[in-house]
């Protein structure tokens, strides 16, 4: 094997991630899409072969045969299955090579956690306090920030449960489920276990649609008090490095529910708007050197800065001649630079690397591994990928549910893995990267994969599909994201209540994101979470099309050139369309400029009226009214105060590639006719 150059390696990794993402997106009956995928895989294997030895050659051969097979009539579904299998195999091989060559990929740090190598020490000190190590601190701090919203949700739901208004048990069940995970993850096994009992108490009502009795509500309120008290102890004990663990009364056992906890103070009278006794408030804000700021305040700061920059630019432009000859020029230029620097700094305050989330995952896996008796090798890649802090926080729960499911349901026990010829240690790979204005996180395990026949059986039993229904595998896979779906008959305190994946989907939808899955029976399962970036610095080409300003991200631009005459031969076989007309607007009257993009089936010449050059902008999420604009995934305020829309190139290229198959040069009908 040749020693791979680091950039080549990183490129291969990224390309394989892109191919796997496309594979998940491709429908099994999309023959052209599957063929295209096979061709991508073929090209990738060709590149990999130049660096690696036998496995890459074998993959190249497989991909070649697959293409021939598809052209000779093999069904696209069979083809897609083979492609997914090949991608998983290629990914595994690439990871093995990484281990062999000990390659830290430039710009993409790889973290490996081995559950068996982790310090499986007793975390309790002799006095029964929970020890807090420095690497545990972020997890505890995040907990302190996150927990109050769950407490409030439980309290509100319990208080409403006795009323006559419509009541949704999931609004009570979900936060308890999440707190169970959080307390378990932090090392409060007892409280996590008690939460599990609380979930079990609610289980019958989930099915029957009933409401808990007043006695049960009382028990759950006591559980809530315990949560709050324990959270207060966490806040108090963090700086000392040891946390007192609250003794737990048998809330859901046979003993009298009225019996107060032995050493706990009573919850005291509850006054609306006032913290209950033992409730903590703003504990996290006491951390020395850390100020917690609401993201809305950060947004206001950024907006003020942008407004300032707009006025400054306008003032300078309006008095350009005067300023040029004035002694004020130097200080004004300097002020402009400082304003831009301030803006960058404000963005960086909001943008954080995803690494702390990865570290938390490592910790969860270590605990889960011990709990389930399944050794796990976790590989994390892309921790340096930056994301809006709010999105990092929002992602934690979905990720937590997915990794718990992967370990609890996906990975087999060591003996079973050995029997299947797999490494006894289960594999879990998590990767993060940014692509065209989106943040993408993939979570893959090499466990048993989704059991589609079991999903089918369960979905039919639940009455979700009719007997004899013939659904595509992807449609069956969709079932796992429905509320209340679980193929596990017995819930464990780790997972299996059918709550997690439903929550994952809802959370992602709330972020305007998607979650997709691909599975190969016996080979594992892949989940891909994709969310649009709400804030990022982005480089793109600023263009005008009609009366619209657009920023085209640079990554997929091949070249641009002035199109003197629009004769059919100009594009050299490329599909050509004017951006304004594609968007149903009127184009400008002059000679257009062509921006060449790489299409799915052929190059695309995107015609625009004017090119202003490269710009670095702050990508901003759009107002809810603009959320459904097609092929657009954000906006940016330019220096002169104008707004440019940021094109979602993958979507645009997909739409244009489809249009190119018909070679129609016409605006897509949009209902109201061109303005």
């Amino acid at each position: 094997m040749n020693s791979p150059a680091k950039p080549e390696w990183a490129k291969l990794q990224e390309e394989l991630s892109n191919i796997s993402y496309l594979a998940v997106k491709t429908e099994p009956n999309d023959f052209a899409g599957v063929l295209k995928l096979a061709e991508y895989l073929n090209l990738w294997a060709g590149d990999a072969k130049k660096i690696f030895g036998s496995w890459a050659s074998s993959l190249l051969l497989q991909a070649g045969q697959l293409i021939k097979g598809l052209r000779a009539g093999r069904t696209s579904q069979q083809g897609l299955e083979r492609i997914l299998r090949a991608i998983l195999e290629a990914d595994k091989n690439l990871n093995r090579e990484a281990e062999k060559s000990d390659l830290p990929i430039p710009g993409r740090e790889v973290l490996v956690f081995d559950s068996e190598e982790g310090p499986a020490k007793d975390r309790m000190d002799p006095e029964g306090f929970l020890r807090v190590k420095s690497d545990d601190l972020p997890g505890f701090k995040d907990f302190l920030q996150e927990a109050p919203s769950h407490f409030s949700a439980i309290e509100a739901s319990l208080l409403q449960s006795g009323g006559r208004e419509k009541w949704d048990i999931l609004l009570l069940y979900r936060p308890i489920h999440t707190l169970k995970s959080l307390f378990g993850y932090l090392g409060f096994a007892g409280l996590s276990g008690l939460s599990h009992q609380g979930e079990s108490l609610l289980e019958p009502y989930k099915k029957s649609g009933g409401r808990p009795t007043s006695r049960e509500v009382e028990s759950l309120l006591k559980l809530l008090d315990l949560y709050r008290l324990q959270a207060a102890k966490v806040g108090e004990g963090l700086s000392a490095g040891r946390i007192e663990i609250c003794p737990l009364p048998p809330l859901f056992g046979n003993k009298s529910l009225s019996e107060p906890p032995r050493t706990l103070p009573g919850p005291g009278p509850r006054v609306e708007g006032q913290p209950a006794q033992g409730e903590w408030e703003g504990q996290g804000d006491r951390d020395a050197g850390v100020i917690r700021i609401e993201t809305s305040k950060m947004d206001e700061l950024m907006e003020t800065l942008e407004e300032w920059m707009t006025y400054q630019t306008q003032a300078q432009m309006r008095a350009l001649d005067w300023i040029e000859a004035s002694p004020l020029k130097a200080p004004l230029d300097r002020m402009g630079k400082l304003a831009r620097k301030l803006q960058d700094q404000a963005v960086s305050l909001r943008m954080v690397p995803i690494q702390p989330l990865f570290v938390r995952v490592g910790r969860v896996i270590r605990d889960l591994s011990q709990k389930t008796g399944k050794p796990v090798r976790l590989q994390l890649e892309g921790g340096e990928t930056h994301l809006d802090k709010r999105l990092v926080d929002e992602l934690w729960e979905p990720v937590l549910h997915l990794v718990r499911n992967a370990v609890d349901h996906g990975l087999e026990l060591p003996a079973e893995r050995k029997q299947r010829g797999k490494d006894e240690k289960g594999g879990l790979w998590i990767k993060a990267w940014q692509q065209e204005g989106h943040f993408i996180l993939s979570i893959r395990d090499d466990g048993r994969g989704l059991d589609l026949s079991r999903i089918e059986q369960k979905a039919k039993a639940l009455g979700w599909v009719e007997e004899g229904a013939d659904l595509e595998p992807s449609e069956w896979q969709e079932m796992i994201f429905r509320p209340g779906f679980s193929t596990t008959d017995k819930a464990t305190d780790v997972s299996g209540r059918g709550i997690g994946l439903d929550l994952v989907k809802r959370r992602l939808q709330a972020l305007k994101g998607t979650v997709e899955t691909a599975t190969m029976p016996g080979e594992g399962c892949l989940f891909i979470l994709r969310i649009p970036l709400t804030l990022a610095l982005l480089e793109g080409l600023l263009v005008r099309a009609g009366k619209g300003l657009y920023l085209i991200p640079l990554a997929q631009i091949q070249k641009f050139f002035l199109l003197e005459q629009e004769t059919p031969g100009d594009g050299g076989g490329a599909f050509r369309i004017h951006l304004a007309e594609w968007f149903g607007r009127q184009r400008g009257s002059g000679s257009p400029v062509a921006v060449q993009l790489e299409g799915e089936t052929q190059p695309i010449l995107l015609l625009v009226d004017e090119i202003f050059g490269k710009r670095e902008v702050v990508l901003k999420g759009l107002n809810p009214l603009l959320a459904n604009l097609r092929c657009v995934n954000g906006g940016a305020i330019l220096g002169d105060g104008q707004v440019a829309l940021i094109l979602d190139l993958p979507s645009l290229i997909r739409e244009l590639s489809r249009a190119s198959l018909g070679q129609e040069y016409s605006a897509r009908p949009l209902g109201r006719g061109a303005a």
Partner: protein, 157 residues
């Protein structure tokens, strides 16, 4: 013109559009300003014609005249921005020919009596637009359906 806050319960911002007077509750007014330009956006079914920025925020521009089915007499005019506290919080702007001013109506609920929706003492002042519902419909993408929430002039209760 800078932002104006009108805490009065039955205050309305009245403006001119297509030669007629329309108004909406002043509590939804964020700002009215002249000389605001906007950038065109892709054609869409939500009657949005562009985007502009005000105070560092990107604001969609609603084609209110088009939505009401009336011709805009002049492209020049004033730009009114409405704010719906939400959730989700929505800011949306639209062009009007001119802002007439604020009108305070008397009575507990002047727009709900038979003489309401702009008729005071038998004299027509303006057509009331339920801006919250109109914009809410846009946010939900329901504008393609015939709106029953926009009360037209002379329409019976």
């Amino acid at each position: 013109m800078s932002a104006q806050i009108l805490p009065l319960r039955h205050s309305y911002l009245v403006f001119q559009l297509g030669g007629n007077r329309y108004g909406f509750e002043a509590r939804f007014l964020w700002e009215a300003a002249a000389g605001v330009s906007f950038t065109e956006i892709p054609l869409n079914e939500n009657h949005l014609m562009g985007v502009t920025q005000l105070h560092g925020k990107i604001i969609p521009v609603l084609d209110l005249a088009g939505l009401l089915g009336i011709p805009l007499a002049s492209a020049q005019g004033e730009f009114v921005t409405a704010h719906l506290p939400g959730p989700p919080e929505i800011l949306v702007g639209f062009q009007v020919e001119a802002v007439v001013g604020f009108l305070k109506l008397a009575g507990e609920n002047p727009l709900e009596d038979p003489g309401g929706r702009g008729w005071i003492d038998g004299e027509k002042k303006f057509t009331w637009l339920d801006i919250e519902k109109i914009i809410g419909q846009q946010a939900l993408g329901l504008s393609g359906k015939k709106s029953t929430r926009i009360k037209k002039e002379g329409e019976d209760a």
